[in-house]
């Protein structure tokens, strides 16, 4: 990086425009996915719960593009209907941990002293557990269900945001403009609302968007183990676990929800990478 000559203004503009185009493109794609999942009931060609015992385990055909499962339910409809559970729970989870974690982080940085120590040691406790292990146990104790799975993952994921928000806020506090605002008579609320939040939201947003894919996979993982959405509710992870016996004979039934997860995660990851590059002036 250090040996390459500084890019010219023209080159910088070209890069910025390409990035902007990429951002709009992936943003639109992600939005499309969310909107489609919102209207998933209207998009399903069949009722995802409707069983047709005369047509169980059918191969893909013109009527049933992805075939049917062992209850004769149309797989395409179930995959489409599953997007609602998978995508909405993920977005709910990520917005919750982002807001909650950042709030804790700002409080820590602002209050300092004991509040800071206690809350940070608490977050250390949660960070001491490896990945899904703690979430597994929380979901197990709470007893499954989408809401409990969301809660379990939220319990292990908020500390990351708290640490990020804390360090960002601490760095800001020393900035001259903050001192100036303070001297001009801004109160705590105004300082946080007008100066801290707008300045720390960039890095937090990037982390949040990049987290959507991971959280979607972890939520699906919990459902796969029977600790998230329960059948017959269509959810991608639980659908795969539900139909895994069909893998040797009807692989498309088992793999279709997997591909749905794969493409959704990919879209959100691409969006996350682009948002990161767009907000990082060094990469332009």
């Amino acid at each position: 990086m250090s040996q390459s000559a500084a890019p010219t203004i023209r080159l910088q503009n070209v890069r910025k425009n390409t990035l902007q185009r990429k951002l709009y493109f992936f943003g639109a794609l992600a939005l499309l996915l969310v909107v489609a999942s919102f209207f998933s009931e209207q998009l399903c060609p069949y009722d995802p719960y409707m069983q047709d015992m005369s047509l169980t385990k059918a191969a893909p055909s013109a009527e049933h593009l992805l075939g049917t499962d062992r209850y004769g339910r149309d797989m395409l409809s179930r995959v489409i209907a599953g997007s609602k559970t998978s995508i909405f729970s993920t977005l709910l989870l990520v917005s919750f941990i982002t807001l909650f974690g950042s709030l804790i982080g700002i409080i820590c940085a602002w209050m300092g002293r004991k509040t800071d120590t206690v809350l940070m040691r608490l977050s250390d406790m949660f960070l001491a557990f490896p990945g899904l292990v703690f979430a597994l146990a929380v979901a197990a104790v709470l007893g499954g269900g989408v809401h409990n799975a969301i809660f379990a993952l939220a319990a292990i994921s908020w500390p990351k945001y708290a640490r990020l928000a804390r360090s960002q806020t601490l760095a800001l506090q020393a900035a001259p403009f903050m001192q100036a605002a303070k001297m001009a008579g801004s109160g705590t609320f105004k300082l946080i609302y007008k100066h801290v939040i707008p300045n720390i939201s960039g890095p937090i947003l990037v982390t949040a968007v990049l987290d959507i894919g991971t959280m979607m996979m972890e939520l699906a993982g919990l459902s796969f183990l029977g600790l998230g959405a329960k059948p017959p509710i269509p959810e991608w992870g639980s659908m795969m676990s539900d139909t895994r016996n069909l893998l040797p004979t009807q692989p498309w039934v088992t793999l279709a929800p997997g591909f749905a997860i794969f493409f959704s995660v990919m879209i959100f990851n691409l969006l996350g990478d682009t948002v990161r590059d767009y907000l990082d002036p060094k990469r332009r």
Binding site: P130, A137, P251, V265
Partner: protein
């Protein structure tokens, strides 16, 4: 002098570990406590008998479940320090013994996955870094991108379908904990881990390659391979090893899903089975020991990092 400071550092880190270990035991206990009052009812229903309320109350008193939260925690902690984490609700076996019996299988799986991950991601990451922005780099980056978007159970299903069923190369369900049955679960874990790790190796090497001393060495006519292997890799290896230790956390979590898919008889499968049976003492033992293993791995990595980096070891400010 160097030895003393690193001893001091190790000691300091061990002291810092104490509150974290307390935190781990406390949270693990809290989990059990939340399930607590139900656990006794659950225990009897697991054994398939209907019992009167008095017997349940008596049983709770015998287990100390009628005491206050603090007393229960201290009792539990004391018993735990003596190696007694209770008995399984399902089998009646000592949970710690059951956990320790299954642990080697999981450690074997974890070890094999780490070895395979290194085997895949080190060469690929280095290659991608030295062929930065050329064809091979783009292909490898694309591969890692795809891998990052696949949950491990999906990778497991794909491998089962293509390697196990279509080609019939490998056994789909493990028949024990032998090497052949370990291949598919290892590959599943390694693919997911390599996808992340390759990127990290690439950026660590790339960052090192961009430093001024590399330019200086090039100007003095030192060959690229000497620079890469003798200088760049030596410096980048520290970051690479630390990142590896950090990714062990997600690997340990991932074993639960992969073990239960492939019927690999380790602690992950033990935990998933325990969850399905609502065998709370078992779940508790699993959560607590996995966290302790994770914390210890991180500690060792940190100490190694400290030991290997002369700038930190000798107290020279490198930053």
């Amino acid at each position: 002098m160097g030895a003393i400071t690193s001893m001091n550092y190790a000691f300091k880190r061990l002291i810092q570990l104490i509150p974290i270990l307390f935190g781990i035991t406390f949270l693990s206990f809290l989990l059990m406590y939340m399930a607590g009052s139900d656990a006794v009812t659950e225990m009897y229903s697991n054994r398939g008998v209907e019992v009167a309320q008095e017997i349940i109350d008596e049983r709770k008193a015998a287990l100390g479940l009628n005491l206050s939260f603090g007393e229960q925690y201290i009792n539990w902690l004391w018993a735990m320090l003596h190696g007694d984490m209770g008995v399984s609700f399902v089998t009646g076996e000592n949970v710690l013994k059951a956990f320790l019996r299954k642990l080697p299988a999981t450690l074997m799986l974890t070890g094999l996955s780490i070895a395979l991950t290194l085997l895949i991601s080190l060469p690929c990451g280095i290659l991608a870094a030295i062929r930065h922005d050329r064809g091979i780099d783009l292909i490898l980056r694309f591969g890692s991108f795809m891998g990052n978007a696949m949950p491990n159970f999906f990778v497991a299903m794909l491998l089962m379908e293509f390697l196990g069923i279509q080609l019939g190369l490998l056994p789909v369900i493990s028949s024990g904990t032998d090497f052949e049955s370990a291949l598919l679960p290892t590959l599943t874990l390694a693919i997911a881990m390599s996808a992340k790790y390759m990127r990290q190796v690439r950026s660590a090497v790339l960052e090192e390659l961009g430093k001024d001393y590399v330019l200086g060495a090039k100007a003095r006519g030192i060959s690229d391979s000497v620079i890469l292997w003798k200088n760049v890799m030596k410096a980048a290896m520290l970051t690479i090893m630390t990142l590896l230790a950090l990714s062990i956390g997600s690997l340990l979590g991932g074993t639960a899903i992969v073990e239960s898919i492939f019927m690999w008889d380790g602690v992950g499968k033990l935990a998933v089975d325990a969850i399905n049976m609502r065998d709370y003492p078992m779940i508790q033992a699993y959560v607590m020991w996995m966290a302790i293993i994770y914390v210890l791995v991180n500690l060792v990595a940190d100490l190694l990092y400290h030991e290997l980096d002369p700038r930190i070891r000798l107290g020279v400010n490198g930053k």
